[in-house]
Amino acid sequence: MTDSTITSKASVLVERGTYQKLLAFASLVALLIGFSIASPNFMQTSNMIAILQATSVNGVLAVAVTLVIITGGIDLSVGTLMTFCAVIAGVVLTFLGMPLLIGVVAAIIAGALCGLCSGTFVAKMKIPPFIATLGMMLILKGLSLVISGTRPIYFNDTPGFHLISRGSLIGEVIPFLPIPNGVLILFLVAALTAYILNRTVLGRYTFALGSNEEAVRLSGVNTDMWKMRIYALAGGICGIGGILIASRLNSAQPSLGLGYELEAIAAVVIGGTSLSGGRGTILGTLIGALIMAVLTNGLRVLSVAQEWQTVVTGAIIILAVYADMVRRNKSA
């Protein structure tokens, strides 16, 4: 009894959510140490960069879905929206032969508009976020196939497109640290989103909506409009994700995308964001996305079969959420 009283006191002292973030960070460090002991190939610069590269797309999607989850909602459409945006970039760049920048902007705008649609379904039509974005997920998957004619669109006519993700600005300045641009973009997106969440009105309402939507509405805030804006922002970030994956594959693969949303949500949850809304951090989500990538990579380095990697990932998600529940019960 005395022990649990002491721990509950301690967790009150530490700021809310910090515990889970520390736990997630500690797990990440433990995984890194564990894998490097298990295999000498793991802690190589090239392998570390591969992990970061693998994190970039999922990380960006996870940042997007973090916003929606903090409002108390969920976005199942981030995966197929990413693909849809990649296809739009393909249409603009390859079919229409427009300049690179226009393709990129088009993809992000397409993402934001789709997010706005989801937001409208949720805020104006009062469709539960799970259903609204499930519908959106299927609509976008279908549209991607229709627009592309079910075939991949290659970006061979747009030299430089693959550099968006695979080039390395950092590597040009610091040759021994060839961190790909995709990773750089992930960190920029994360930093910007974290700033928006913590320092702007939009971010304040994101937390407020997830905390007590009715109270926000009664305070005279146009909650519908802000919710639509948040979904649109998340959609725009998915557009960036679409550019990243298209650039990495140097093509828009219209059949890709399903399943990405669940990986993104998993990263968010491991990162300590509450699925019931009101609480969450971008840093936690980043750590969550890194944990997933380290796990996949490490198990592969140890030659664990792909099937088993999936099993382990699932178990980790359950463990992470359980750890969070235990902590909350103690502090309650």
Binding site: M1, R199, V201, S211, N212, A215, L218, G220
Partner: protein, 507 residues
């Protein structure tokens, strides 16, 4: 005095309900005008019309002498109307300052927030209220009383000259209520008009200048608080006189001790609490909020672990580690929060009652005996006088008092003969309260053992055969019930913070 608000002939209809019929209400500058009535009388609906949450279907609304028609809370705020809702509407994950300025945060360019200005302005408001509170405190970590203060600060920050308070003291202890009244009086003296909705009669005399009474969506009358006896106001509310008879404790010296608790302790919340209750007895637990009464009940019931102490039921030592253990030995706990812990409000009366003991209604292959469940439910509906059109009515459509009766039925069905009631009449109106009291007395007469936890002294005095008083986790005394104990005696023990402890109980 100028009239801030004038409402005449207000009509409001909801599908199937005529919620307000030709209601009038006015509010002057510098007065506290109490709005009284039983639950469902239409007080909250009327105030929601004033504050722009609902729109009226008919009648006249003047704010500051001008015809007004606020169609949103924001418009009402612009007209100087601030409302503090019955259920606190704060965002628990945000700080005090962020809550107060939600919707009109000080901004810089590009939608960036000016957090420093936000906290500074909040600190100013707190200072003007004489409130010692950190603007950056996370609201969810504060006590209900502090959260209430933040609601008031929020309403004030709109420079409201009309403040509507819907049951502001429901969750406050006496010290906090006194603090709130100081703030209300100061606002009144500054010329703010305050509409005060409350069920607590004793507060009227302390705070209200005028009282308007409503009943069943209709205006009954407006009286001056100082000149009107409470019994008359109650009579206006319920349409009949409610008489309070002092409790006469039965002689139970021969009765069996059915629950005995010795040296119960858990951290700082429960410190070495011992007491016993006899068959047929009603033991009241009095004390200020946070005195540890609910904690004692939860520890006995196995809802929280205990550090030490023994519990005997009918003389037999029992080891209760979970609520299921408690139920098996016949202890039932009726939580203060019916909606969260007591009832599945979306289900009907029959299923809620049967939920307690599904096994006895389950036949071969897990098929439920609907007829048996219905018969049992009807039996309890008769026995406890549950007012419901039928046993298949959804529980959420029943009034608070009748919901409470459904919870009682559940526990009776489980064969629990030691029943612990935590705030049994919270949120229940005056008329239904006395019905619940009678029901508890009948149950005690039938040989049940009743423990009642209540923050309302009149309730404790009305019901208890003996009164246990707690302060800061300690049992500071057990007083006899009936006329020989006064509210002052109880308050003396409830505020006895010193280590000195005397148990004056007879059993």
């Amino acid at each position: 005095m100028t009239r801030l608000v004038d409402m005449k002939g207000i009509e409001k209809k909801f599908p199937g309900v005529h919620a307000l019929k030709n209601v009038q209400f006015d509010l002057k500058s510098g007065e506290v005008h109490a709005l009284m009535g039983e639950n469902g009388a239409g007080k909250s609906t009327l105030m929601k019309i004033l504050s722009g949450i609902y729109q009226r279907d008919g009648g006249e609304l003047l704010i500051g002498g001008q015809e007004a028609n606020p169609v949103s809370p924001r418009e009402a705020q612009a007209l100087g109307i601030g409302i503090i809702h019955q259920e606190l509407s704060l965002m628990n994950d945000l700080t005090a300052a962020q809550n107060i300025f939600i919707g009109r945060e000080p901004r810089r360019s590009f939608g960036r927030l000016d957090e420093a200005a936000l906290n500074a302005r909040t600190a100013e408001i707190f200072a003007s209220m004489n409130l010692d509170l950190d603007p950056t405190a996370v609201v969810g970590d504060l006590t209900i009383a502090k959260q209430q203060m933040i609601e008031i600060a929020k309403a004030l920050s709109y420079r409201s000259n009309v403040l509507i308070m819907d049951e502001p003291t429901a969750a406050l202890n006496d010290a906090e209520i006194a603090e709130l009244f100081v703030i209300i009086r100061r606002l009144r003296d500054e010329g703010v008009g305050i509409t005060y909705i409350s069920h607590k009669m004793d507060e009227l005399k302390q705070i209200a200048d005028r009282v308007t009474v409503m009943r069943d969506g209709e205006y009954v009358g407006t009286v001056v608080a100082a000149d009107t006896p409470l019994s008359q106001i109650i009579a206006m509310m319920v349409g009949r006189e409610v008489k309070e008879v002092p409790v006469v404790a039965p002689d139970l010296s021969d009765a069996e001790v059915s629950l005995e608790v010795t040296n119960l302790s858990r951290g700082k919340d429960i410190q070495d609490v011992s007491f016993s209750v006899r068959k047929g007895e009603i033991l009241g637990f009095a004390g200020l909020m946070g005195a540890g009464r609910t904690e004692v009940a939860r520890a006995i019931f196995g809802a929280d672990p205990r550090d030490g102490g023994e519990i005997r039921v009918h003389g037999r030592l029992v080891d209760i580690r979970s609520p299921a253990d408690a139920v098996n030995v016949g202890i039932g706990y009726l939580s203060e929060d019916r909606k969260h812990f007591g009832l599945a409000t979306g289900m009907n009366v029959r299923d809620n009652i049967a939920l307690a003991d599904m096994r006895s209604f389950t036949g071969m292959g897990g098929i439920l005996d609907d007829d048996g469940m219905a018969a049992t439910a009807r039996n309890y509906i008769d026995q406890l006088g549950i007012r419901t059109p039928s046993e298949v009515q959804e529980v959420r459509l029943l009034s608070g008092g009748n919901q409470q009766k459904v919870v009682i039925a559940k526990w009776l069905l489980r064969d629990c003969d030691v029943l612990i009631f935590d705030e049994p009449t919270r949120g229940i109106d005056v008329g239904a309260k006395s019905e619940i009291y009678k029901l508890l007395e009948v149950l005690a007469d039938q040989g049940k053992t009743i423990v009642v936890i209540s923050s309302e002294l009149p309730e404790i005095m009305r019901l208890s055969h003996r009164i246990a008083v707690m302060c800061e986790g300690r049992l500071t005394g057990i007083l006899p019930g009936g006329e020989e104990t006064t509210q002052e005696d109880i308050m003396h023990l409830a505020t006895q913070r010193a280590a000195a402890m005397q148990v004056t109980g007879t059993h």
